[in-house]
Amino acid sequence: MRSYEVIFILDPALGDDGVDAAIAAASGIVTKEGGEVAEVQKWGKKRLAYEIKKRREGHYAFLRLRAPVKAVTELERHLHIAESVLKFLTVLAPALRRRPVKAKASAPAPKESDTHGMTVGVHGEAVGSRRTGAEVQEA
């Protein structure tokens, strides 16, 4: 399980209920595959910086997930297929952490955590919760 942020742009022709339905469909897939949707944001109709599928604006929807890889691939497959989705973006939202502490030998190695690898991501919140590297992180 890792945290992800998913943004997708929906057809501007969609009404409010259409947007809600699309978000519900996306969240449904995530929960079905064993993930959880931690946060949903509707950014409303925004002007696009460039034309996508001949549209100049779109409804932005933002989801923050905690989900297994399978749920994310399934969600992406769905977003690819869905007609009303103009474009989408999935990024990893890494757990906030500070630089790893140099003295590796003395500090107890944190338990298997998913902080390594390609965690060049973004976050939106919890700026206050910095960790000192010496603390053992909860997995």
Binding site: L48, A49, G58, F88, G121, H123, V127
Partner: protein, 78 residues
């Protein structure tokens, strides 16, 4: 030796460091806008004064924002 002409350049500082930003957010378009030219190019840190770490994060954030149409790749032809 002939350094009489001391240039008084304003000290450039990293705005992200000042604000204690831990991770530059690609959703923060308002902020990212300050770091692209009107053509849409990323402003080098030589100009903006960003520190290396934040500039690195910033470029990634800008590229992400571009890919989801929050920022443009290039200025449109007039």
């Amino acid at each position: 030796m002939l350094n009489k002409r001391r240039t008084y350049r304003r000290q450039k500082v990293c705005k992200f460091c000042l604000d204690k930003v831990l991770q530059v957010d690609f959703k923060d378009v308002k902020r990212l806008r300050n770091y692209v030219s009107d053509r849409g190019k990323i402003i080098p840190r030589r100009i903006s004064g960003n520190c290396a770490r934040h500039q690195r994060q910033l470029t990634i954030a800008i590229k992400r924002a571009r890919s989801i149409a929050l920022l443009s790749f290039a200025a449109e032809l007039a």
